[in-house]
Symmetry: C2
Subunit: 554 residues, 2 copies
């Protein structure tokens, strides 16, 4: 069968998996902002709209108390997810009956025992299209993997089930996962609900778009170079990239399998900040190291969450990184950094400047490690059915742009790989020493507590234009946990284009030229908070502190 026939058959099955009475009449493509549509389209009743607009913390309370049933909550989110699918093409696997049956079991359990199954009882959770669910396909956007049904759940799915969650939908990604946008030959392109001419980011771009439309309260993305944080930032969400091994990865599909150096990690994406802690606490307390040999033996540490290693959260010192020394961020990003600085100072925290060192090198060695054999990895999979390897994320398949995640043609030897990995290790040591040395500048007796920096030099750009990912990738290279939080949206009145005359290089100039207030209008603007390796608890708490400071200052 030709690969396009395989795709047609798969797409047909996807369409059939949508309940017919959940089909709506979406606005024309020319309607760019579709964020209001789910609540006006008529599919969701008032109670369902309320449920889908409720924060994760309150959802969990009401589900645990039985005030709301999991069947009702799951139905509400499922309907909204299916609306989202019709607006921005964010879904891959759709399995309504199965999810509702699971929800009904949980409701029964609560009714009979008076007890919740676990800390995430009844909560619908969406999953990136890597996270295998027994009996479902996990194509990961590869035509070659159509028809391969998982024999086992990924470890994370088993743990989410233990925690009482309801996995209810899977979400779109780019072919190979190694793009910061989301387009593949099986499911096509996911667009940004705030402005459909813009990308929702990637590789967890389906999650980003879905959650931005409140089609899921919490989703799981993966992040090897920014794949949770970029879509979270482009879609106005909270997102956390944990350290290696904090969330179990075993049993999921992936690209670059066997690459043991710069690892992909799973983490939460959510529209309400409480979702970060709820997810991380539940998963780490489920002892994932008993199911995944690479999971770190470390339960959720409430002392660390209460900032035991950061002066109990009094008198924090944040460092703002205004630019990374490679690409200067666009005006909306600059404005959000200035706003964050003012808000934090107003809240009584100290703010200093972060001096980035060797961010270019960190990005380069990371990509060299991925690309040591990425071309072979992709080709071997794609060639099984002859589907073409995608070379651009532009709408028209015209000239390829400078694509940060695109593989080089040839691989390298193991010895060459070791030399790059060694360079990266040395850069990690240098950066650690650099951070420790800030103790002399903070006045707290501690090094900087967290870095606040852009997630990208721009808000969500037009399709095919997300060409610079180092603002996220360097933290993968360093294995620092990093959280995304929303600050504002692009406002052409406030975010005018300012002339610049000094550029780091042509690439920096090109990014500058890309900015146009009308193009980016209405795009969310988020920032990133970066902590120390295996300090997820403190990163979540400090993100909550920053979020509260921003809310107070607004």
């Amino acid at each position: 069968m030709h690969w396009t026939d395989l795709v047609a058959e798969k797409k047909q099955r996807q369409v059939k998996s949508i309940p017919q009475d959940w089909l709506v009449s979406p606005p024309p493509d020319s309607t760019l902002d579709v964020t209001g549509f789910p609540e006006t389209c008529g599919l969701l009743n008032a109670r369902e709209i309320e449920m889908t607009n409720t924060s994760v913390d309150v959802l969990l309370e009401r589900l645990a108390s039985g005030e709301w049933t999991s069947v009702d909550v799951t139905t509400a989110f499922y309907k909204r997810a299916i609306v989202a699918q019709q607006l921005v093409n964010c879904l891959t696997e759709i399995f309504v009956d199965r999810a509702l049956a699971r929800a009904a079991e949980l409701d029964d359990h609560l009714k009979k025992t008076g007890k919740v199954v676990g800390p995430l009882h009844g909560l619908p959770i969406s999953l990136k299209d890597q996270i295998c669910i027994k009996g479902l396909e996990t194509t990961m956007g590869y035509v070659s993997w159509i028809g391969q049904y998982a024999e086992k759940n990924a470890v994370l799915v088993d743990i989410l089930l233990e925690c009482g969650a309801v996995p209810f939908v899977r979400t779109n990604i780019p072919q190979t996962l190694m793009w910061p946008e989301s387009f593949n030959n099986v499911f096509g392109r996911t667009t940004n609900p705030y402005n459909r001419s813009l990308t929702s980011g990637g590789s967890s771009g389906g999650e980003g778009a879905l959650i931005a439309l409140q089609g899921s309260p919490v989703g799981v993305g993966s992040d090897i170079g920014g794949s949770i944080r970029i879509p979270a930032a482009f879609c106005g969400l909270y997102g956390l990239r944990p350290s290696y091994g904090r969330v179990p990865y075993s049993g999921a599909r992936n690209s670059l399998e066997g690459q043991d150096s710069v690892l992909s990690v799973f983490g939460p994406m959510t529209s309400s900040i409480g979702g970060l802690k709820a997810f991380m606490k539940a998963v780490t307390n489920a002892k994932p190291w008993l199911k995944d040999p690479l999971a770190v033996r470390k339960k959720w540490d409430e002392d660390e969450y209460n900032l035991a290693d950061h002066g109990s959260g009094k008198d924090l010192c944040f460092a703002i990184m205004w630019d990374d020394g490679v690409v200067v961020p666009h005006p909306p990003i600059r404005r959000s950094l200035e706003f964050a600085k003012a808000a934090l100072e107003k809240a009584g925290h100290k703010v200093v400047d972060w001096k980035p060192i060797k961010h270019g090198e960190l990005g380069d060695v990371t990509r060299d490690i991925w690309n040591a054999a990425s071309a072979e990895d992709f080709m071997i999979t794609a060639s099984l059915t002859g589907e073409p390897i995608i070379t651009t994320m532009e709408l028209e398949n015209a000239d390829a742009v400078r694509a940060p995640f695109r593989p080089k043609k040839g691989g390298i030897t193991a010895y060459q790989l070791w030399q790059v990995q060694r360079m990266r290790r040395d850069l990690r040591k240098e950066y650690l020493d650099h951070w420790e040395a800030t103790a002399s500048e903070t006045g707290t007796g501690r090094p900087v507590d967290a870095i606040i920096c852009p997630a990208a030099p721009f808000a969500a750009p037009p399709h095919g234009k997300n060409t610079y990912t180092n603002y996220t990738t360097v933290w993968n290279a360093l294995d620092y946990p990093a959280a995304i939080f929303p600050v504002t949206t692009v406002d052409p009145n406030l975010d005018t284009k300012k002339p610049r005359h000094d550029f780091y290089d042509d690439f920096d100039e090109g990014i500058h030229e890309m900015y146009d207030p009308e193009t980016f209008k209405n795009a969310p603007v988020c920032l990133q908070l970066v902590g120390r390796t295996l300090e997820e608890e403190a990163v979540v708490k400090m993100t909550e502190i920053v979020d509260a400071a921003l809310a107070s200052a607004k």
Copy 2:
């Protein structure tokens, strides 16, 4: 300069670094057991003999109270180390004045402040010849690295200094580190003090021989496939191979730099069991993750040491692995396992059999990962001065034996390496599930608490005959912490050669044929206790429990 001239010059400097009045008249080479010599040679006085025979716990108490000065203790161990050097050639760098100056500073500090510098105050610690000390060479047995003086301490040295320790000597290794015996072109061969016709093991063979002669109370070895545990086992010591990143490695020299998959780790070797906890607690509580980006953020956990995850240590269930399904151990090893089983049952613990799975495969993938580029790694270093790559550890440089750590000629591609690494990851998952599944057999409600198994299929073999390391290497592949503890010595009366007729294969038969009670006479016999990843605290405690049970049963 020819490489042999470089060696001659280096050896001359080494000889000069020994105080002339510490030279003794060692027994002739035909005297095999030299363990009694240090106390009879006349160099150490009675108090120095007492000091060097004192356990680590008591040493630390007396040093902290000022009852014994660090200068006196360090002098005593230094003298005994120099005697050891003359018996078994275990040392590389010798720096008496520097170590004694450091000891004097510590004594001054205690005198003036009444306080110890840290938990290892005044304790001499020996270091494998990888662990850089500022101003000293770290040749690691490579002629090419003669004359390269370290500009900085390794992170572990800085941390040991913070803890109050006195690094006082460095110890011998094999060329490339990737041999389980200890011979190189710079410093020559280290022999086993219990029987100098036998190997002291490797790669931390200098440590093993030194500590066996009580020339150091605690030493630091490294272990990528057994390099702490093999010499600890061959020399009758305690030794711990911690999980990846528990003890800082940054700033040390190493082989296979940039190999990010099966990592080498540092850990303690000691003649007294208290040395394991004293070292691990001090180092992990010094927060090594603030100095080493690969160090795990995990302080010493006293709850885990008290076996919080193992029923508080009541009603433990150990599993004995009698053989690994590849090579059947020699009679003395079998006898020690039987003795351990009886002792543990007598102490009220449950003992079941461990069923090994895929130990052959685990060893194979591990070696394939190392050998992906080991030949290039070694050749590039050796070729700088033209020193030959060593191809056998036999006394006569005759036929090469089957050498488990010897590199293959050609390297592989990064893609091929990823495929092997992927196989290894899958084996780790399979083994984890296998261990978890034992919960149904223990009767404790928990999976097996620890595995007890051989450290090698034999006691210390003759030079060049240590040809099978899987009894240790599989735990590196799985990243399980593992401790060595002494049980007995080879006794030709008890350990007679028994006929065998069924062999796994020719290799197994060859190992069987190697056994001869007289050859191995007096060699120490140790066993290995294996726990779960990042469970160093519990492994140390369970080793103490087993050690106490053995002592009661003797």
